[in-house]
């Protein structure tokens, strides 16, 4: 099994995979805290349309991905402010983009194979150039996040007070989604658009169940993401089963016991508390 590790494509896979795990671990924390799980899933699915469009036009998929996911994050932000049903607005944007993706691919020959590799990734086919491009984008996202760390945290946990204190909460909402869009585009070549989501929420959902401290939760989520990715690549190299299956299975397998053990004693999510409070108020009436 370890003889596989000498091939350069496995090195590239490890490099790109680690990078994705780190960026997604940090961004995913905010995704879970802000209750944006569906938006994360939608943005990753929307990447499919971008990649398909790029394939049709014959340009590198990364550009199409960035254009579509960033565009979609802006559309989602505007549509969400129009209605009270944010999840529907997200879903409409997502399904429309996906249907555009299938249209693009149907105009392209050999469409099934192409769709398959976009949707489920080609981690072993990652080139040196891809790794460099993803590294630059990933470092950019991390740098921006470290600058915005405190305001983003503040506006995630208590948006109303943050707004009163003069933070541009609305701008931060949109900007955060744009960051997720970039992260999704980086991750797409590694595990495919449909499974980017697994690395976005899997590690952070588990980490948040273990610790309440933001810094510790982010650190833990990055560590978990790295372990999932490495274990996934190693197991895939050893068994010939898809990488994405191992990553999602490990992530679910770790989450389930943590959820069942931690679920009883903790109630720390802001969303959870909000729900509880309104119910108790109603109970008293």
């Amino acid at each position: 099994m370890f003889s596989v590790l000498q091939y350069p494509f496995i090195h590239n896979a490890f490099l790109a995979g680690s990078l994705v795990a780190i960026v997604n671990g940090v961004l995913g924390y905010f995704l879970v805290v802000r209750g944006l799980t569906f938006a994360g899933h939608a943005l990753s699915s929307i990447g499919f349309a971008g990649a398909a469009g790029a394939v049709l036009l014959g340009i590198p998929p990364a550009y199409g991905l960035l254009a579509f996911t960033i565009g979609a994050s802006l559309v989602i932000s505007t549509l969400s402010s129009e209605t009270s049903r944010r999840d529907v607005a997200i879903g409409v944007t997502m399904t429309f983009a996906l249907s555009l993706g299938i249209l693009f691919l149907s105009l392209y020959h050999g469409y099934a194979e192409m769709a398959y590799s976009i949707l489920f990734g080609t981690i072993v086919g990652i080139s040196q150039n891809d790794v460099i491009l993803s590294a630059m984008l990933g470092l950019g996202v991390l740098a921006v996040l470290s600058v915005l760390w405190r305001p983003l945290l503040f506006s995630s946990f208590d948006p109303e007070v943050a707004e009163v204190r003069g933070l541009p909460v609305r701008f931060l909402n949109v900007f955060y989604l744009v960051l997720v869009a970039v992260a999704v585009s980086i991750a797409m070549q590694v595990i495919g658009v449909l499974l980017v989501f697994a690395l976005l929420i899997g590690p952070s959902a588990t980490a948040i169940r273990i610790t309440d401290h933001p810094m510790r939760a982010v650190a833990l989520s990055v560590c978990l993401g790295l372990v999932y990715t490495w274990a996934g690549i190693l197991l895939a190299a050893a068994s010939n089963w898809p990488v994405s299956f191992f990553i999602t299975a490990i992530s679910f397998g770790v989450y389930l016991p943590v959820r069942l053990l931690a679920g009883q004693k903790r109630a720390r999510f802001p969303i959870k508390q909000l729900g509880k409070k309104s119910v108790t108020i109603l109970d008293k009436e």
Binding site: V32, G35, T37, F38, H41, S45, L79, S80, E82, T83, S84, R85, R86, D87, V88, G91, V92, T95, F96, L98, S99, I102, L103, S106, Y111, A112, E113, A115, Y116, L119, F120, S156, P159, N173, L194, L195, F197, A198, I201, G202, A205, W241, P242, S244, F245, F246, I247, S251, F252, Y255, R259, I271, K272, L274, G275, K276, S278, V279, I281, L282
Partner: protein, 286 residues
């Protein structure tokens, strides 16, 4: 070839029948999905169905049956995980991701994986068989009957779960039962538009109708009309334009949604109060 000639073909008739069946169902089911804020659960159930369809392909059984079995299991899992269904989106998301991974695994065992995957993901309404129609008709009938029977308590429980519970309505059972019906509907809709686009048929028509009116029956009727026009219109456009049916169907429902949003925005603003609802994700980020 004109439209009339095409209609003589078996697969075309099947496609129209399947589309009509699903459209008739989606207005009713979609209304409750939107009302109960379970759009994301609907999306996740369709991904659970992806694992089901690929498992069925692997075992060589009918994909519709595979989807129904898996989505029912998925509902059970969601029901166990989400005790009070609070911050439900993370649980739903985790199940969604795992099921996608499982589906990819099944596909990798299956030899013709790329084409099979695309058919499951984006629908293959032109390959719907007589057996599928039969299963779909039975499932639709059961779902509609069950919903007609549960209509009042479900409506009460969806609008005001706390009051409903105080009045002795078994809201937990109702919510699981509704998810079971949703699982059946999602499996059917997947046959028409595919796993990734189920949302377009089940949620978007109802969400558009809900922007225009608040009366339950009117909303359902409007939603049914929107999904009928979109599905049948999409099919006709496919035969004329030769682009994928899923694309046209989704594009039409999205157009209806945008139009409804526009009309909603033009009307005099009415204060919207989000009712407290333990089953609903409460977003207050802006």
């Amino acid at each position: 070839m004109t439209m009339i000639d095409l209609l003589r073909h078996d697969f075309v008739q099947n496609a129209f029948l399947a589309g009509t069946l699903v459209a008739l169902l989606s207005g009713l089911v979609g209304y409750f999905v939107v009302l109960r804020g379970q759009a994301f659960a609907c999306e996740a159930l369709s991904h659970v169905g992806f694992a089901g369809a690929t498992a069925a392909a692997l075992l060589g059984v009918n994909s519709l049956l595979g989807m129904i079995v898996f989505t029912l299991l998925g509902v059970l899992g969601i029901g166990i995980l989400g005790k009070r269904l609070r911050h439900w989106d993370v649980e739903v998301g985790m199940v969604l991701a795992f099921m996608l991974g499982l589906g990819v695994l099944f596909l990798s065992f299956y030899t013709q994986n790329a084409t099979a995957a695309v058919n499951v993901l984006f629908g293959s309404i032109l390959s719907v068989t007589h057996t599928d129609i039969l299963v779909m008709a039975v499932a639709s009938l059961l779902t509609v009957l069950a919903l007609a029977f549960l209509f009042r308590p479900l409506l009460f429980a969806s609008f005001d779960p706390v009051m409903a519970e105080a009045r002795g309505v078994p809201i937990r059972w109702l919510s699981i039962l509704f998810l079971v019906l949703l699982a059946l509907s999602v499996s059917e809709a997947m046959k028409v538009v595919g796993v990734l686009l189920v949302f377009a048929l089940l949620v978007i028509p109802a969400a558009s109708a809900e922007l225009l009116t608040h009366r339950p029956f009117l909303t359902i009727a409007l939603a049914t009309l929107i999904s009928l026009i979109s599905t049948l219109g999409g099919l006709i456009l496919t035969f004329v334009g030769h682009w994928p049916a899923s694309f046209f169907i989704v594009a039409l429902t999205s157009l209806f949604y945008i139009a409804a949003l526009g009309i909603h925005g033009l009307r005099a603003p009415r204060r919207h109060h989000e009712l407290p609802h333990p089953d609903r994700e409460v977003f207050r980020t802006d």
